[in-house]
């Protein structure tokens, strides 16, 4: 145990370290000796070399998702991709209708973009997930109107890791001739994506959740049937007019290499990560009053989101200082509200407050997982010994029957 380096990083859904192989490729695109040119420079070899590097990266990203490289638009990250997709399509197709459908458990990049469109006069339906976090397709079908122009549903949820059935949603959207956008920030390199098969019209990606750099992402925009977008960033007409701005060669090369590695190693990596996740789950699940948040089967390998009832999340995070994890507790968020994702699943405030998200990745070891299990069990025990709610639970008191003196 002594050779474990603390703190242990278990927050791979927040971001990942750059794979050293990716960093090496990026470093080749920076200095005077390297490939530093502007990919848009047509008049000399510096520009041509940079353009070739960008083209290769475009191919590498397209390969991971079985798309045509001409369907890839570089952006600054998934937030920008979501903005471009949703605002761009809504603005372009607003003559066809003004209704958009999304889910309450989407990332803020989608939710806040939809809120902005509401201010512009669009109508947005925010669907509730089922208790397991998954979308009920019948609920989706019932929400569609003749005014619906866009459906936006994320592939993998960032907090609970559940995988939505985007294949089935795509069939519904295509049949009704509605544009379908998917935020895939959390799924690339973790779930197979085949855009030849999936009826997805736009898909948002970023590099930094897949061992690439922060600050670069991509939007997939389908060519057949063609999807049109109104640009949100105007300028030199880069990326076929959809997103102007000088291409950041080193970032793009990094994303390409990261996606290439993901494509090659995804199957074996998923197996290893799933084994570690199950080890963590089995090490914690036999404690009393623990609840996994979100469906355990339709879920990426590396995510375990679990609530420890009668323990408050921030104090737990404090006890787990040697772990880098996230909590759905209000106290750890800027908004002082407990996780809106867990609330949307119907979890009560107490369980939302007591949730911890562990996300496991490429550099996690079995020793780290075992250390984590011991640490978490001891911390939960310590805090329950301190908790008046735990005593009440042990005395058989129904906490819902208590009249609390709220403040």
């Amino acid at each position: 145990m002594s050779d474990i380096k603390l703190p242990i990083y278990l927050d791979y859904s927040a971001t990942t370290p750059i794979d050293p192989r990716v960093a090496a490729k990026m470093a080749e695109c920076l200095t005077i000796e390297g490939n530093f040119g502007n990919p848009a420079s047509r008049s000399h070899s510096f520009g041509w070399a940079a353009e070739a590097a960008v083209d290769l990266a475009r191919q590498q990203v397209a390969d991971l998702i079985n798309a045509d490289p001409r369907e890839i638009v570089w952006t600054s990250g998934a937030t920008e991709s979501d903005n471009l997709a949703i605002k761009g399509a809504a603005h372009f197709y607003r003559k066809k209708g003004n209704h958009i459908i999304t889910m309450k458990t989407e990332h803020k990049a989608v939710l806040d973009t939809c809120r902005q469109l509401e201010r512009e006069g669009f109508e947005v339906t925010y669907l509730d997930p089922q208790e397991n976090g998954l979308l009920d397709l019948e609920v989706l079908k019932a929400a569609v109107t003749d005014q619906t122009i866009l459906i936006s549903v994320m592939h993998v949820n960032n907090e609970i890791g559940v995988i939505q059935d985007i294949e089935a949603i795509g069939e519904i959207a295509r049949e009704k001739r509605i544009i379908f956008h998917v935020d895939a920030a959390q799924s690339s390199g973790k779930v197979d994506i085949d855009l030849e098969k999936l009826k997805v019209d736009m898909m948002s990606f970023c590099a930094h959740k897949t061992y690439g750099p922060k600050g670069v992402g991509a939007l997939y925009v389908r060519r057949k049937p063609r999807v049109r977008l109104e640009a949100q960033m105007h300028g030199g007409g880069h990326e076929r007019g959809m997103r102007s701005g000088t291409l950041a060669t080193h970032q793009i090369v990094g994303m390409g290499e990261a996606f290439r590695i993901a494509g090659e190693e995804m199957a074996t990596e998923n197996e290893r990560v799933r084994m570690l996740r199950d080890r963590l789950y089995n090490g914690l699940n036999n404690m009393e009053e623990v609840y996994v948040n979100g469906d355990l089967d339709h879920r990426i390998a590396g995510n375990l989101n679990i609530s420890f009832n009668f323990v408050e999340g921030e104090s737990l995070i404090m006890a787990l200082r040697d772990l880098a994890v996230s909590s759905g507790s209000a106290c750890t968020s800027a908004s002082l509200e407990p996780s809106y994702v867990l609330r949307a699943l119907g979890r009560n405030d107490e369980l939302a407050h007591s949730s911890i998200r562990f996300t496991i990745g490429r550099f996690t070891s079995a020793e780290e997982i075992d250390y984590t299990i011991d640490l978490v069990r001891a911390a939960v025990q310590k805090l329950r010994d301190l908790s008046p709610l735990w005593d009440m639970y042990k005395d058989g008191i129904d906490l819902n029957s208590v009249e609390w003196v709220a403040h």
Binding site: F310, M318, A330, C331, D349, P388, L399, W404, H407
Partner: protein, 125 residues
């Protein structure tokens, strides 16, 4: 968020954790709500001279809430009920160097003292 040394000390080594056997000499105050993320239970044991001779707490909440309740168990001991009732949240917040977003934890601790004293007085009218 960075915690002060004193918050960390109380959190790591909470004083007077536990439950007092309920009888007429014990006053119990429970304040807060699980939905808000903190519940404090403070108990005081009052001797024949009206002095608080023991105090115990249990708290569900963040580190600052645990530290605030741990601290007040130390402070109320040896005080009369009237003296204990004069402990103000600002003193608790100052002692623990609580940041503005955690001031409510000290307010809760002050409320817990008042609730425990009320409970004792109601039982011994």
């Amino acid at each position: 968020m960075a915690y002060s040394e004193k918050v960390l000390d109380h959190y790591e080594n909470p004083r007077n954790v536990g439950v007092l056997e309920d009888d007429l000499s014990v006053g119990t105050g429970m304040v807060g709500a699980p939905a808000c993320g903190d519940v404090m239970k403070l108990q005081i044991k009052v001797n024949g001279d009206g002095i608080i001779e023991d105090a115990k707490f249990k708290t569900y909440g963040c580190g600052s809430a645990i530290a605030s309740s741990s601290l007040v168990t130390e402070w109320v001991k040896g005080k009369s009920l009237d003296e204990a009732a004069e402990i103000k949240n600002t003193q608790i917040a100052e002692e623990l160097a609580l940041p503005p977003v955690k001031i409510h934890c000290s307010v809760l601790a002050e409320d817990a003292i008042a609730a425990a004293i009320d409970n004792y007085r109601n039982k011994n009218q």
